[in-house]
Symmetry: C2
DNA sequence: GGCGAATCGGAACCACTGTTCCGGATGTCT
DNA sequence: AGACATCCGGAACAGTGGTTCCGATTCGCC
């Protein structure tokens, strides 16, 4: 409020910036390896930094995970873009699914376990929405090309992705290539010619809620851990 | 060793037996609601019992969860049996998938989140193996009837189940009926006529490993928390 | 080279939760 | 009824891991 407030320096000190990068890289590795279970101590050790240094940049572990989730979303976005660039819509979709499966297999946090960061109260993040939109575009082209049955909606595709993510994660250690076979299997579910699907497709809100749940290991989202907020009486 | 050892009484005292039942019921509810996150205090409170009483019967939380997992496996086994009793193999399989989806939707622990109890070192439990065998029988009949494409093997069906479990869990809160639509979608993947699946099907060992991973929330199986063993110097 | 502010490191803190312990209450058997 | 083993409750304990704090250090600038 006060006019004297100098406003935090826009640029970090050189060492601070370097450390920030190292922390991000370490966190990426640690989360990929152990999922959200990775401890702050572990991350700090990997980064060659003290825990305090992490907390100087990221107020909370959740925030750190969230920062990385953005990267993940961007990576998936890039996959979709590559698929959109493909000539045949069917092959593009298939390649995207395969790529996603591989990505999730080698990254224990892959869009999934990661992000307990997703707060159950917040709506979909902009990155999430953008991603979903691009996926919708991919589906639309596949529809237009007649490569995918018309009764399959975006929500159905998302659901298939959630399942694929689980299968990829579950088989990653012992059958790393299985995800490709599974991808082929679910692609066949998309083939035209089958009877129309029963029930209603997911609404946008339901997709958002599902994404959030899918990202939140299913283990248990606490409404809001009062830790960081509590104390300080 | 000593001949004087009276050997623990084969029958529990009446109140003990009653409490054991109440504990089991409370744990079932608690796990269904919160998954493995449910606290021992919470379970004890629901059962109207002290935590100590739980530990008198179950040496560890894991053991308690394991006891309940048996029930779950039995329940799924019963579903398969009902499906095996159906006239048409296709409808039986579909009905089983639907029933399983519904079951997993309303039970947050459902075969999934539950059992962190599954020890990563142990092989498949007898109940698990029996279940898998019955599922294999269901699949065989569907094959014989020409209702399911022949290149779909047991491992593929299991993978579909893992995915279905995730989708059911993820949509349970906001779109409880969606699992039925999803079931129809993956049933279409099983329809005959598609090109043969690429890659290799899962081996029995891979299925076992996958089941274990699927049951273990993916969150993180600690090799073996040294808690119960440690201390006591 | 020297000064002040930003930054670093990591020990201490604290809430959380599974587990243990034991005095007192309760069945069961004679 | 009386005696004894079994059982119960729940406070206390202990491992864990996220978060905070503050003296020491380093960077950027004059």
């Amino acid at each position: 409020m006060s006019a004297a407030t100098p406003a935090a320096p826009r640029t970090l000190r050189r060492d601070a910036r370097a450390n920030r990068e190292r922390i991000l890289a370490a966190a990426r590795d640690a989360f990929a390896e152990h999922g959200m279970e990775a401890g702050m101590d572990d991350i700090a050790r990997r980064a060659g930094v003290g825990v305090g240094t992490i907390y100087r940049r990221f107020p909370t572990k959740e925030a750190l995970a969230e920062a990385i989730l953005e990267d993940k979303l961007a990576a998936v976005g890039a996959m979709i873009d590559r698929a959109l660039g493909a000539d045949d819509p069917d092959g593009g979709l298939r390649r995207f699914l395969g790529e996603l499966a591989r990505h999730q297999a080698e990254d224990r946090s892959g869009a999934a376990a990661l992000a307990s960061c997703a707060r159950p109260d917040a709506g979909a993040s902009p990155g999430e929405l953008a991603l979903r939109e691009r996926l919708g575009e991919l589906l639309r082209r596949a529809h237009d090309a007649g490569a995918v049955r018309p009764d399959v909606r975006l929500g159905d595709l998302m659901a298939l992705l959630w399942g694929l993510g689980r299968v990829a994660a579950v088989t990653a250690d012992t059958a790393p290539r299985y995800a490709d076979r599974y991808t082929a299997l679910i692609m066949d579910a998309l083939a035209p010619g089958a009877a129309a699907l029963p029930g209603r497709p997911l609404t946008a809100a339901q997709i958002t809620a599902g994404s959030r749940a899918a990202m939140t290991t299913a283990a248990g989202i606490r409404p809001r851990p009062p830790r960081a907020a509590a104390a300080r009486s």
